[in-house]
């Protein structure tokens, strides 16, 4: 049985704002709805908005949902969150806001909150006359054909929720939950996102250094070099290896040749030694000197 929060159960058993909105045909009132999902997928949400054009704000919101307990609660939560907001404010709402409003959702149910965020976006785009088709064209290519999930949607879920594994992506947007042929593609998107996070971080650090007038070292004394290599091994490399039952120690530095001793689990298997050597080399080249080469002894 799912471990739903009190709030989820409360909004499921006594949902707020369920139903649709009829156009009252009043001045300065517009009615629109946005939909996502399908009965084939097992959940679908039609979100109805009553908008005040003069203030560009949401007067009322209702939902119609086909789905499980958490899909219904997420829909109800969404309507509560957006009432009274301007459309621009509403567009900034993420699936995480919906999940937080509910006091959290089980990991495997996070896609219910994503559905809410998407329906909101669909409704607002529709109101603003941005063709949904047009919007979806921008979505980039489909990564998961089983569930019709685009690259853009996956990238967004990864970025907004800090996802780091393929399983998480499946929990949040369903991609990868069918035939599984897109799993490698999803993994690439995660790696890509992680790299771009690192690039941004590195660029920021560089900018700070420039501002502070610190120049990256151009030439190092041998002692400086050894100290830096030792620091990188201790801080960056060893913790990972030790966690896997292995270890590495610095044996000697001869010019640009870094002689290391690989131990334990990693040292025992020739192919992993090879991989490891390159991994350590890449780290040292990156963080100490590009000309360094690593040799296992």
């Amino acid at each position: 049985m799912w471990d739903y929060s009190e709030k989820v159960l409360e909004l499921f058993y006594n949902p707020l704002n369920q139903g649709s909105i009829d156009d009252p045909n009043q001045p300065d009132v517009a009615v629109v709805f946005g939909e996502v999902g399908s009965i084939a997928c097992g959940d679908a949400l039609r979100l109805h908005l009553k908008v005040q054009p003069s203030t560009d704000s949401i007067l009322d919101a209702r939902f119609q949902t086909f789905g499980c307990t958490s899909a219904i609660a997420s829909s109800s939560a969404l309507t509560e969150i957006i009432k009274g907001r301007t459309l621009d404010q509403a567009l900034h709402i993420t699936n995480r806001d919906i999940a937080d409003f509910l006091g959290g959702l089980p990991e495997a149910k996070m896609h219910c909150s994503v559905m809410g965020q998407e329906a909101l976006e669909a409704a607002i785009y529709k109101y603003r006359g941005i063709e949904v088709e047009h919007h979806e064209e921008d979505d980039g290519t489909l990564v998961c054909t089983c569930y019709g999930i685009s690259e853009k949607k996956i990238r967004r879920a990864i970025a907004e929720n800090d996802l780091s594994t393929v399983e998480q992506v499946t929990n949040y947007v369903k991609a990868g939950g069918g035939c599984g042929s897109c799993l490698a593609g999803i993994e690439d998107l995660i790696l890509d996102a992680q790299q771009s996070v690192e690039t941004v971080r590195a660029a920021a650090e560089l900018a700070v250094e420039r501002e502070q007038g610190i120049q990256p070292p151009i030439s190092l004394t041998n002692l400086q070099k050894i100290t830096m290599i030792q620091t990188v091994l201790d801080k960056e490399v060893r913790p990972v290896l030790v966690a896997d039952g292995g270890d590495v120690s610095l044996h000697d530095v001869e010019g640009d040749r870094v002689l290391v001793k690989l131990q334990g689990a990693c040292g025992s298997c020739p192919s992993s030694t090879e991989t490891l050597k390159y991994a350590i080399e890449a780290k040292l080249q990156d963080l100490v000197l590009p000309s360094l080469v690593v040799e296992a002894i």
């Binding site: 049985m1 799912w2 159960l9 499921f12 058993y13 949902p15 369920q18 139903g19 939909e35 999902g37 399908s38 009965i39 084939a40 997928c41 097992g42 959940d43 679908a44 949400l45 039609r46 939902f63 119609q64 949902t65 086909f66 789905g67 499980c68 307990t69 958490s70 899909a71 219904i72 495997a108 149910k109 569930y147 019709g148 499946t170 369903k174 939950g177 069918g178």
Partner: protein
């Protein structure tokens, strides 16, 4: 009040079963393999339990091997069949088996075995011509369920067995859901191996048995000690074996009264169909277990129905994707080709000899309101809805 209609998931341990096993959890703790009479006296009760289980199946006591559960029985049976004819590398099974068969078959496919998964029609029934066509001289094993856990649909095992035998294949049946609910007589049967599980027939969880036809060249799955004549190593779970024996004895008596369960089930089924529109009985056109009904409620989702039922203290189950935490709905209902409108909204009610009229009345009393509430929330209301059609197509392509 608790209304327990999830007996295909597990059953209540019969009080008489509990009473029978208790001494072996306390003062009679000896090991039946020990060379002293304190342990030896326990050995005698194991043999008595073996006889009780054999009687329920129309088998001989030496044909019964005690093990830990239905899943173990299924794994062991497949292993044994492949070991018996190692040169044959093809298995025939069905698309609607329990994961304890399907997962093993998928694993074997990776190891180079060929597996044919027979399809079922919309009533959940097999096509014996498809079985015939699938059989080859290289087929080592035909394994099918006797009755399906989700729909209760019963397969014609003797006809299947005859075809399996004609091709020299081992015939295994997963009878976990059938034992105790329909009569089984293995003395006149083409079945070589049969799996049963205690917790589905009012014994506790974690005990099962595998029937192995006399003369079958059985190779054990679990190696170690000489228990069960070397056919299943591991110190006997004495209390649970005693319990399974007692449960088998009670089940045999109960078989005569199983019509009462069928009547209650029919009342539930007819009541729901009569009071709630857009409902269908999945597998309703096929021969079924007397205790099971699987009802599709169109346009709403199964997990939501279960949580509503749960609030009234009613326990049932659903094959909806949201229930399992996977993204796909029940492989059984999918194999039956159910339309999406019912696929995600199907609920299984499974009865037992403890089920009362009051329990059935309780479900009939609350069900219409639950369905009405969820349908009022649903954006779908008829099969012709343009949105529905459109999206269905989008998904298929």
């Amino acid at each position: 009040m608790l209304t327990y209609l999830d007996n295909n998931a597990t059953t209540r341990t019969d009080p008489a079963v509990l009473e029978a096993m208790l001494p072996y959890l306390s003062e009679l703790y000896g090991n039946p393999s020990s060379m002293h009479s304190f342990g030896g006296q326990v050995g005698a009760v194991i043999e008595e339990a073996r006889e009780q289980v054999a009687n329920l199946l129309g088998a001989e006591p030496t044909e019964i091997i005690f093990n830990s559960c239905g899943s173990e029985g299924n794994n062991t049976a497949i292993h044994a069949a492949l070991a018996a004819q190692p040169e044959k590398r093809h298995i025939v099974t069905t698309a609607v088996e329990h994961p304890a068969i399907l997962a093993v078959c998928k694993h074997l496919e990776k190891k180079g075995y060929g597996v044919t998964y027979l399809s079922v029609d919309e009533r959940g029934e097999l096509d014996l011509l498809e079985l015939e066509a699938a059989m080859t001289g290289g087929t080592a094993l035909v394994t099918t369920m006797v009755a399906n856990n989700e729909t209760g649909v019963i397969f014609p095992v003797e006809q299947i067995g005859a075809i399996a035998k004609a091709y020299g294949a081992t015939f295994h049946v997963d009878a976990v859901q059938a034992v105790g609910k329909v009569p089984i007589n293995l003395s006149q049967s083409s079945i070589d191996l049969l799996t049963l599980s205690g917790h589905k027939l009012h014994a506790p969880k974690g005990i099962g048995a595998l029937y192995v036809r006399k003369g079958y060249r059985f190779r054990p799955f679990l190696l170690g000690g000489h228990q069960e004549r070397g056919r299943r190593a591991g110190t006997h779970n004495v209390p649970a074996i005693v319990a399974l024996g007692k449960a088998a004895e009670l089940a045999q008596t109960h078989l005569a009264y199983v019509k009462r369960e069928a009547d209650l089930r029919d009342r539930l089924e007819h009541g729901i169909l009569a009071t709630i529109s857009d409902t269908v009985v999945n597998g309703g056109g096929a021969p079924r277990l007397p205790n099971t009904t699987n009802i599709g409620f169109k346009y709403i989702e199964g997990e939501a129905i279960l949580f509503m039922l749960n609030k009234h203290g009613i326990c049932a189950s659903s094959g909806s994707a949201c229930t399992s935490g996977s993204l796909d709905p029940s492989h059984v209902l999918t194999a039956m080709g159910l339309p999406y409108t019912t696929l995600h909204g199907s609920i299984r009610f499974s009865l037992s000899r403890y089920t009362t009229e009051a329990e059935i009345g309780q479900v009939l009393a609350v069900m219409p309101d639950i369905v009405e509430r969820l349908r009022a929330m649903s954006p779908f209301s008829n099969d012709q809805a343009g949105w529905l059609q459109e999206r269905d197509l989008a998904i298929v392509t």
